[in-house]
C-alpha cells in the first residue's frame, strides 16, 4: 500500500516559491502560465495493512508531522504497491 500525499500552502498564504517559479517561466517566454503553486509531494509505503487502517494512519501522520496545518493543507490518495 502506498499513500501519495500532496501538501500545499493554504489559500491566501504567500507562496514565494510559486511566485519565483512563475516569474521565471514568464521570463522564459511561457506567457500562457497564469499562476504557479509549489508544495510537497510525499510517498509513504506501508507494510501490508488494509485500506481502512492506512486511511486512518495517513491522516494522523499528516496532522502530526507531514503537513504544517497552520499554513498547509494536505490531500492524499491510496494505491496498492506497483
Amino acid at each position: 500500500m502506498i499513500a501519495k500525499i500532496q501538501v500545499t500552502l493554504k489559500k491566501g498564504v504567500l507562496d514565494s516559491q510559486g511566485k519565483a517559479v512563475h516569474h521565471t517561466l514568464t521570463d522564459l517566454g511561457y506567457n500562457e502560465v497564469k499562476d504557479v503553486r509549489v508544495g510537497k509531494y510525499l510517498e509513504v509505503h506501508f507494510k501490508d495493512i488494509t485500506d481502512v487502517e492506512a486511511e486512518a494512519l495517513v491522516k494522523e501522520m499528516c496532522e502530526k508531522l507531514l503537513a504544517n496545518t497552520v499554513i498547509e493543507s494536505y490531500r492524499y490518495t491510496l494505491a496498492s504497491e506497483e
Binding site: K10, K11, V13, L14, S16, K19, I71
Partner: protein, 747 residues
Amino acid sequence: MKLSPDVTVNVQIAREHGLTGEEYRRILDLLGRIPNLTELGIFSVMWSEHCSYKSSRPFLSALPTEGPRVIQGPGENAGVVDIGDGLAVVFKIESHNHPSFVEPHQGAATGVGGILRDIFTMGARPIALLDSLRFGDPADPRMRFLLNGVVEGISNYGNCTGVPTVGGEIYFDDCYNGNILVNVFCLGLIKADKVFLGRASGTGNPVIYFGSKTGRDGIHGASLLASAEFDESSEEKRPTVQVGDPFTEKLLIEASLDLMKHPWVVGIQDMGAAGLTSSSFEMASRAGTGIDLDLDQVPRREKGMTPYEIMLSESQERMLVVVEAGHEEEALEIFRKWDLDAAVVGRVTEQPRVRLIEGGDVVADLPVHVVVEGPLSLKRKIRRPNYLDEVDHLNLNDLPEPDRGDAALKRLLSSLNIASKEWVYDQYDHMVRLNTLVLPGSDAAVLRVPGTSKAVAISVDCNSRYCYLDPFNGARIAVAESSRNLACSGAFPIGLTNCLNFGNPEKPEIMWQFEQGVQGIAEACKFLEIPVVSGNVSLYNETRGIGIFPTPTVAVVGLLEDSRKHMTQWFKRTGDFVGLIGLTIEELGGSEYLKVMFEQVCGGVPTLELRAERQAQEFCRELIGKGFIASAHDCSEGGLAVALAECCISGPGQPVGAAIELESTIRRDAFLFGETQSRILISFSGERREEILAAAERSGVDFAVIGRVGGEDLSVTFNGAEFIRTRVEVLRNFWKGALGEYARQVT
C-alpha cells in the same frame, strides 16, 4: 455581520477589536462622530498595547537615554550611536513571541525580517543578528518541535538575507511552557550624517509603496469579525500567521540602500505591525503633515480586498517611502532593477489628516494626532506579588554539601541552559560579510568595522530566574552581565537596547515586576554609563493565568578602538597562569546548581555591587588592551566551576586541562557553583604575572592567581583536598553534544 465599511460601528464591535468602552468613547469624543469600520480598525491597531505602549510608557521614562555618543535615542525605528570615523551603529531588539508559538518557523523568520527592516529603514546596512530564545520544559515534546522550528526559521531567513547571526542565548524553563520567547537583535552600520528618519515631509511629495504585494496576512481584528462571513462560503479558514519571504527581503535591503544614496529621498519607513496603517500615520505624525492614500494603487496579492483589509494587512517585506516630487520615475526604476513591486500610492498633504481613497471616494478620513497621540497612558495598578515571600529564603544548612564536585559539574555542563549552543549556531551563517572576528562560542561576538581599525562587540543576556526572584536586581544583573561579556572581549559599552517580556499588565503584580525591572535596568545603566537607545515591550506573555518569569532581555553594544585587541574566552597555552578577578560570596540563591541538583528556585539573587562590577570590567579591559592576557571569561550560570570548564573545552582546538587550587572559608559548593557577579577568569603567561598583580593592586580590584593551564584533567583542590578531577575530554563530551542530542530526539 458583514465585513464592509457600511457596518455601523458600535461599542460591541469596538470591544471585539480589543478597545475598551472607555477608549471607544474617547474616539467618539476626539472624532466628534462614529468611525466607520475601516477607521475603527485603524484605531484598534494604533491604540493596541503593541503600537501605543499605553501600559509601559509611563515607566520607560526612568531609563537613561542620553550620552555623548547618542545620535538617536528611543522613538525612531532604532537607536543610533556614534562610533567615530564618521560612522555610527544602528541597533534594536524586538520580540516575535506569540507568532513563534503558533508557527515557530514562520514566526521566528518574520521576526528576523521585521527587525532587519527596522535597521535598514534608517539607511544602515545590517551587519549582525543575535537571537535570544526561551523555551519551556524540555520534557514536553512540543518544545523540541518549537526549538527546531524557531532555529530553522531564523537560520533560513537570516542566512538567505546574507546577514550573519553572530550570537544569542537560549534557556529552558517551565515558565515558558505556554509562551516561548523569540527576541531578535539586529545591528547595522551607517555614516553618522546619513541617518534616515520616517518622515512624510513636503506637501505634494509622492508616497511610494515598494516590496511585496499586500495579502490578507495576519488581519487580527478581521479574523475575529470575519468568522461568520468566511464560514458561510465554507472556504478554508484563512490563517492569520504571516509568512516571510527572505529573498524579497534581501532585494528590499539592497533596493532601499540603493535608493537612499539619492538626495531626493525625504523619509522612509517599514511596514511593521499594523502595516500600511502604522507606517502612514507615523510618517505623517513625525512630519506634522497628512497623507492622501489611493488604495486602488496598492499592489495586492488577492482579489476583492477591502480598505479595512488593505490597511490592516501584516504582509511582510513592504516599505513606504516619500521622495521629492518629480523623482517618482527614478525611484520606480530602482525598484524595477530589483524586481520589486512598487507604485505611487499617495501624496503628502498639508492638512494633518490621513485620507483613504478608493474608487475616487474617501473611505476613511482621520486626523493624524488623534490616532497617534490619542491613546491615554494607562495608570496600571502596582502590587508586590505574594510569591516573593515564599521564594526569598534559602538556608544553605538544608543543602547537603557534597564531598566532590565532579558529578555536579558534569550535570551542569549537560544542562541545556549551560551546554554548548553549537547545534544552534552551526545552523546560522555567522561569517558572511567577513566581519565576524569572534564567532559564536565566546562571551561576546566581535565584528570588525569595515574600513576602520575598530570593532564592535555584542552580547544579549537575561537570567529570568533571577528576575523572578527579584526583578530589580535580576534586571541589574542582566545589564551587568551583558556589559561584562563585552569587557571579556575587550570592548567598552556604548549603548543598550532592551526587550521587556512580561506577563499580563492588567495584573498589578506583573506591573510591579515591570516597574522593578525597568528600574533595575535604569540603575545599572546609569552607574555603568550606558545609554538606552531603543527597545521593545512584549506584554501578555501569559497563558491560562500563568505568566512567564519577568524577562527583561538586554543587548549591550560595545566598541573596541583596535580590532586586533579582541579577546576570546578559552585557555590558549599550557603553562599559563589562571587568575580570578572579583570576590566570591557564600551564596547559591537562584543558581543553576540549585535548580539542577536540588530542583529549587529560591533564595536571594547573586550579589551585584555595581562599583565592583565596573572595576572588574575596567581592569579586564585594561589587561586586554595592554596585551597582558591570553583569555578572559566571565562567571555566569554554573559559577566558577562551569566557567573554568568552559575555558578548558570551548576553544576551537583540542581541549586543555587546568590545575586550580582554592583556599576559602566558605562552602566549597558555593565557591564553585554559586553565581556571585562581577567575576572574570583570565589566563596569562608567567612573564606577565608581576605586572598583572601590580595592576590589580593599583586598581583596587580583588584578584587572585588560582592555578595553571595544562594537562588532560580539570582539577580543583579546595583547602588542600581534591574536589574536582575529571578529564577535560569527558567534560567536553557532556557539554558539547547535549543540546543537539536533545533536539534530534523525536519523542
